[in-house]
Subunit: 403 residues, 2 copies
């Protein structure tokens, strides 16, 4: 059976073949998207030497500590002045420095007397202090923000200053999702007898949204071979880039997903990974002309379905876009744990940061039964319980993946 690493490599081999199309979005719609262009500044930043303080602007000379005020400058109201050793101009934050000037004395360090100012005795003059120089932040025509950056609000000022009302970002992949199960009813139905509400479809859709991709929801169907084939066919006839299915991948008599995929002409790349939960994960691809659609067939158990998405779909997409994953960390285990198999376990867990010691602590969030939606709901991460171990002790360091 494949290890997690081997399986992820095989998934990534296919995901990495997906085209990275680009689209223009409004600057404000770019947050959360991946930049598909280098943002090049069309100006120097700052565009001119300017003052970072309200004060008086001078031509630095260590021996001069008094000046005549010859004028006033504020941001956006430039006038021509020439500052010499004994002359100064009153200047506001952001205003362009006048000719000859290189240094600003903050107003609170000046003694003002009519048209003359003197600098306070204890103030140390320093050439260039409180002056921001043309291009010191970003040079004209240089790369301000690199292609591949995951855009956050902290990138927006710089993009705006570079004149970008629109940014080129990678287009959202269209990700089809459907679920199978004779027992499934819709959320707004009260289940009777041995029915349960379909929950994976909503969770998969939410996770696709969280990745800033575009979900295409094909609903849920019964566990009948011909229905599954027909649903796969319907999904593959659209312009989706990836298909995710839930259910029908275990070894039960009504697990038709693999048979349906084979009948439809999909290439089965692997079935089963040595992990828990989510062992029955089935990965295949479907070729339509030169287009290859990766198909993730996940188990129907809510926890297995969720964990498989996190481990395979999400990780492979982060790798595809070259996003440095910040969701891996190590933590100190708060309770011991045992297992009786040689699978790699992903334990749904709650982490907290110990501010005093500077490390994360982590603890199981409850029952790891693959149906335990309350555990999933309480979790903020999964910790890894390695294949070869059967015991973890309180205080052990474990690898974690934030969800």
């Amino acid at each position: 059976m494949l290890t997690y690493k081997q399986a992820l490599d095989k998934v990534f081999d296919q995901i990495s073949l997906l085209p990275k199309l680009e689209e223009q979005v409004n600057l404000l719609d770019s947050v959360g998207r991946v930049l598909a262009e280098d943002v090049i500044s069309d100006v120097n930043l700052p565009p001119f030497d300017n003052s970072s303080m309200d004060g008086y602007v001078i031509k630095y000379n260590p021996d001069i500590r008094a000046w005549n005020v010859i004028g006033e400058l504020s941001a956006g109201n430039y006038q021509e002045f020439e500052v010499d050793y004994n002359k100064t101009v009153s200047i506001m934050t952001g205003a362009k420095l006048p000719k000859g000037a290189d240094t600003v004395i903050p107003v609170e360090n000046c003694i003002i007397s009519g048209n003359k100012i003197t600098v306070s005795e204890n103030y140390a003059l320093k050439r260039g202090k409180n002056a921001r120089l043309l291009g010191e932040d970003i040079k004209n025509n240089s790369v301000a923000i690199s292609r591949g950056t995951l855009i956050k609000s902290s990138n927006i000022s710089l993009a705006a200053a570079c004149g970008k009302s629109f940014l080129s970002v990678f287009a959202k992949l269209k990700i089809g999702v459907f679920a199978t199960g004779d027992e499934l009813v819709s959320i707004d139905t009260v289940p009777v007898n041995d029915q349960i509400r379909s929950s994976n479809l909503s969770t998969l859709t939410a996770m696709v949204n969280e990745m800033n991709m575009e979900p295409v929801v094909f609903g849920f169907i019964k566990d009948k071979l011909e229905l599954i084939e027909s649903k796969i066919s319907q999904a593959l006839s659209t312009d989706i880039d990836i298909l995710i299915t839930s259910g029908g991948v275990s070894v039960g008599k009504f697990d038709f997903m693999q048979e349906a995929l084979i009948n439809m002409g999909a290439d089965i790349l692997f079935w089963k990974v040595n992990i828990k939960p989510g062992k029955p994960f089935l990965f295949s691809t479907f070729k339509i002309g030169s287009k290859i659609i990766p198909i993730f067939s996940l188990p129907g158990n809510p926890l297995s379905c969720f964990v498989n998405f996190q481990l395979f779909v999400k990780q492979a997409l982060l790798m595809h876009y070259g996003i440095k994953s910040t969701n891996h960390f190590t933590a100190k285990l708060k309770s011991s744990a045992q297992k009786g198999d040689n699978k790699l376990h992903f334990t749904m867990a709650e982490s907290s940061f110990d501010i005093e010691h500077g490390y994360f602590e982590v603890d199981s969030a409850g029952s790891q039964s693959s149906g335990s939606m309350s555990t999933m709901s309480k979790s903020d991460c999964m910790y890894l319980f390695p294949e070869e171990l059967t015991m973890l002790s309180k205080g052990d360091w474990v690898e974690c993946i934030r969800i």
Copy 2:
């Protein structure tokens, strides 16, 4: 001058008075929102005893290791069977347990011979194994997800299983934003002479969006007292809950924000905080009948404006909704740092997690000049350089706030 903590307390005093209105949103639109109701389950979860494996379901008896197969059960296809010590039913994952049954043997541990099965010699039978019991995850009528939870995709399965197609969440606050500055031109204009592009307006809007609040953008205006008064008046005549302004709060001759606010009848709660950047932050409120609108007047320098939003607007809103802030952490400093004042500095920084040692490292992201948008763009956090210190050494532990 107020400390950061004192200023934040004063801000929170006002923010905590804002009404927490509720609205119903579609389950999938709830991700990123704060739950305004306790989600109560209208069913037991699971709704019936069921199998967590594909296998054979038995009535546990430590001495019996062979059974006659009397039928077959799959999820959603319940039929009446009664299992006794020598009888078993073939059962699929998720199927309801038949009468009398309590334990499931996985199919891979069974030796099947016609209508009889025997359990493998090395398999340890255990009562209740692979059976999920009615209500073991969530009891009918109990709280499944608590009011105040920040909804993530990991909460969706449970909400769906509880029958919630819609969730009640706290309504988005409407947050007005405008900027002032004679030097400002729009992003799509090429600035000439001493003009610069307006970038704070976009960044503030992006940060409001990131908080899942509703921005109301009032544009930018010149630094003229009457224009600022008129813009404040325009903003306050709408149904905004909070107003954020940028620019005009320093000690320069054209810093009219405070004067305008006083003229309009706002109550100035404080001006200036002992921090860097963002010292000139001005906080006021405006009463309209029983409604009190908090007004955050931030400096026009991009870094100051950004940091003030993170420190005051964002933190106060997280506190208002009772969201346990997960954006505080401690990290080991990668380079020494010095400062010459007694302000609390928030240094824009880049952090990384050292997987091997289990801690964060952090380093300044570049020039901390309040105009340095490239530093802001590279940062993922701010580290705190305390008031009383003038020196931090490489390897020191520092507090950090993720941005």
